[in-house]
Structures are given as C-alpha cells and as structure tokens.
C-alpha cells in the first residue's frame, strides 16, 4: 500500500472515530468513564486534523467525512457504547498498522505511537489486551 493510500485509510478511520465517539460520549454521560470518552473524542479529532494535513502535504485530496456511519448495532446502553468504543479503536489500529508498514523508516514513529494509543484505549474499554493490535488489516 502506498503511503498516501495508507494515510487516506487512516483519515477515513478518524472521521468514523469522531462520529462514533460522539455517540459513545452521549451514551456515557454521567458514567464513570464519561471523561475517557471525551478524551478519546478529542484525541481523534486532533489526529484527524493532523492526518488531513499529512494527506495534503503528500499531494492528496483529503478524504471527506461521510454523512453518517453505521455503528454495527444499537448503541443505547453504556455497555454497548463501550463495546463500540473498543471497536472504533481496533478499527483505527488496523489503519495505523498499515501506515507503519507503508511509511519510510523516518516516518514510522508517529503511526506506531498512534497504534499504541489505540491499543491502550481498546484495552481500557474491553478490559482485556489484544495480542496483536493493528494487524487485522495487513492491506
């Protein structure tokens, strides 16, 4: 996968993550982990901006956000919201992993750090750690 393509995948994932965490945050209002959801939302928004800039810098047209995203099922309870948050992080991690593989040696540190960030968040939401986060895609 070319670097620009990998960046676009990451960007699409960040759009989806921001949308998804909007739902997660709404369902976790008043819950002990409400702040975690807000922090994750803010982190993905910031990353979306950073990746948008990287796509443009690489000469690409940044992938736009979609109007809406299917969430993979109902998200009406805190438990469902936490499960969605974990899926968001796992999906984002796959994109970060692909970007690590596509990037030149000097540019791997950032997506690797993002991957670690996603793995830590997913573990917090799931209550368990993935053995190989970010290797689901391998595209």
């Amino acid at each position: 996968m070319a670097v620009l393509d990998a960046l676009q995948v990451v960007l699409a994932g960040e759009h989806a993550a921001v949308y998804g965490y909007g739902v997660v945050g709404a369902r976790l209002v008043g819950q002990p982990d409400e702040r975690s959801a807000v922090a994750a939302y803010d982190a993905h928004r910031a990353r979306r901006a950073a990746v948008t800039a990287l796509v443009a810098k690489a000469g690409g047209q940044p992938t736009p956000a979609d109007v809406a995203y299917a969430l993979g099922g109902p998200v009406t309870t805190p438990t469902q919201a936490r499960a969605l948050a974990a899926r968001i992080e796992q999906g984002a991690a796959a994109g970060y992993g692909d970007l690590v593989a596509a990037a030149g040696p000097a540019d791997r540190a950032a997506p690797a750090a993002w991957l670690a960030d996603a793995a830590i968040r997913a573990a917090a939401w799931l209550g368990q750690v993935e053995t190989f986060p970010g290797l689901a895609g391998t595209g």
């Binding site: 393509d5 676009q8 995948v9 699409a12 994932g13 759009h15 989806a16 993550a17 949308y19 998804g20 992938t63 736009p64 979609d66 109007v67 809406a68 995203y69 299917a70 969430l71 993979g72 969605l84 899926r87 968001i88 796992q90 999906g91 991690a93 796959a94 994109g95 970060y96 992993g97 692909d98 690590v100 593989a101 596509a102 990037a103 040696p105 000097a106 791997r108 540190a109 997506p111 690797a112 991957l115 670690a116 996603a118 793995a119 830590i120 997913a122 573990a123 917090a124 368990q128 750690v129 993935e130 053995t131 190989f132 986060p133 970010g134 290797l135 689901a136 895609g137 391998t138 595209g139």
Partner: protein, 181 residues
C-alpha cells in the same frame, strides 16, 4: 477479536455522497480478519537486518514472558493480579513465536535490552507489578527503536507487539500503584 467493521459507512451515506465506496472499502479492508493470527513480516527485502531484529525482539519478549509467568506463579493467591500476569505471559510468548516464525533455528541474540535478565520478581505483589510494567515498557521502547532499521512488514509487527506490551503495562499499572509505579 474485533468483529466486523467497527464503524462502517452505511449504504445510506454511500448513496448520499457518492464518494463513500472507496472509503468503505478502505475501512472494511483495515478491519477485516482476526487479530489473533498475525501475518509474518511481508515487505522489504532486508533479510539480514530483519532477521537480527526479529531474533532480538523475540528474545526480549521471551524474557518478559518468563517474568510474567514467574510473577503469576508467585502471587497465585492474588487471583486478579495473577490472571493478568498469566494473560500477559501468554501474549508475550505469542509475540516471541510470531517474531521467530519462518526463521531457521539460530543462535540466541545478545542484543536484547533484557539480555542480562529482567528485574527480579519482587517481594510484594505491587513491587512485582511495578517490575513487570517497567520490563514491558523497556521491551516496547526497544521494539519501537528497531523499527527504522527493518522492512515495512516487520516494522508493523514490531509496532503491534510494542503496542500490546504497552497496553499490558497500562492494565497492570494499577496493581503497582502501592509501589509508586
């Protein structure tokens, strides 16, 4: 572990924008499959550097696995803590195996930052947790530092192993809080 696409573009949104097909494909591509069966390193013809890095990282993971196993055994009475340590040991062992996958039997490396051994088990559960967290963090830092000398495929595997190590450290850190870790 992850199920289907976590946040997939809806048909509605694809139809609404006319731009979503590629994105939907990209999202599906990056979330399909199982994270429990890692692929081997795939890209970049750098067998010498890759093999050296894989052996070093595998040795590091082996040391972390041994420490986690020893702690789980020593503090078996603390069931929650021991279970976390055993989960970590299992994962670190899987990391080591994945890193060595496809390599011929070879000499053990001395380039691991943990080649001289991990910290001791610790005389209390919090101290043991702190030692394990520290060892996992050292391992992850080492893996991340090796990424710039290897092929892209191996860099991805190293990044994944490092991320898993740091995630284990994050869930074990509360057990170490009494030790000030």
């Amino acid at each position: 572990m992850p199920g289907p696409v976590p946040v997939r573009l809806s048909r509605r949104s694809v139809l609404a924008t006319g731009l979503g097909v590629a994105t939907a494909g990209a999202l599906a591509a990056c979330t399909a499959g199982s994270s429990s069966t890692p692929p081997g390193p795939t890209s970049g013809p750098r067998p010498g550097a890759d093999e050296t890095a894989r052996r070093a990282a595998a040795a590091t993971e082996r040391v972390v696995a041994q420490l986690a196993t020893a702690i789980a055994t020593r503090y078996a009475a603390d069931k929650a803590f021991a279970a976390r340590c055993q989960d970590a040991a299992t994962a670190h062992t899987a990391h080591s195996s994945a890193l060595l996958e496809g390599l011929p039997a070879g000499p053990s490396t001395t380039s691991s930052p943990l080649a001289t051994g991990a910290p001791g088990i610790g005389s209390t559960a919090p101290t043991a947790a702190a030692n394990l967290v520290q060892t996992q963090t050292i391992a992850a830092t080492s893996h991340l530092g090796a990424m710039d000398q290897v092929s892209g495929g191996l860099a991805r595997l190293l990044a994944s192993v490092a991320a898993s190590d740091l995630a284990f450290a994050s869930v074990l850190r509360p057990f170490a809080s009494k030790a000030g870790a």
